[in-house]
Symmetry: C2
Subunit: 143 residues, 2 copies
């Protein structure tokens, strides 16, 4: 029951972007140094975030990344799902696989537990917004 390092780093990196929201683009190099994460690994994570529409990039010198909407509008769940794909506690809940949970016919009672688990995990991750992760007083956050 582990989150991947990608998800963890993704959240931390996005928190940095939230901190510098509206301060111009932030380079991956800066994030990598501040958070002590491999630059090359970050480069692998950020395309996922961009494809999910959470950030947009500025290319070229002095370029970098910035949030595409305010930190109060981005959920931790958005970030985790962007880099990890949909939450699927067990294989039978993946939309691609479609393999049966147990080989029991009819409704599988165990499956319902896993569905409940999946929903709750999504709920928790969607309760927390990026704005809550940065150490600023509410007044300091640029809306």
């Amino acid at each position: 029951m582990r989150l991947s390092a990608k998800a963890e780093y993704g959240v931390r990196a996005m928190a940095v972007l939230a901190f510098y929201y509206r301060g111009g683009p932030v380079s991956l190099r800066a994030i990598a140094e501040q958070e002590e994460i491999s630059l090359k690994f970050l480069e692998q994570i950020f395309p996922d975030l961009r494809r999910a529409g959470l950030i947009h990039s500025v290319r070229g010198s002095r370029g970098g990344y910035m949030l595409s909407r305010s930190p109060g509008n981005i959920k931790v769940g958005d970030i985790v799902r962007a880099v990890e794909g949909p939450i699927t506690p067990v294989s039978c809940l993946s939309e691609s696989g479609e393999e049966p949970c147990c080989h029991r016919k009819g409704d599988c009672l165990t499956r319902q537990v896993w569905e409940k688990l999946r929903d709750r995990i999504n709920d928790v991750l969607d309760e927390v917004f990026l704005s809550e992760l940065i150490d600023l007083k509410p007044a300091e956050i640029l809306k």
Copy 2:
């Protein structure tokens, strides 16, 4: 964010034991056949369940396993934690590791999210009892 196959198989196997609760010991071979799980893999899972006090074993011919308490007293969370160890969504929450979450000093706001996630996962898994997983009318369950 995946549960291991061990956890999944463990729950299914325990559901079988719940079904035959008070019907004498059930052999691993029988469980393996009914649930289509490798016998040798089950042999690896059951010591964990026994060490957690969820089942007790009867050795020798005609032996097998039986629940050590009623299905209404065993939570899915008990089973999952028995075979997977404690739920730790990120490495910094493991009691052995003790590595810092981010390298930020003081209280890490991100850590609180992971703690909340961990607690909620445990909550969900502890809400469901083994008795709810077997397809018997309430009257048919032996107390």
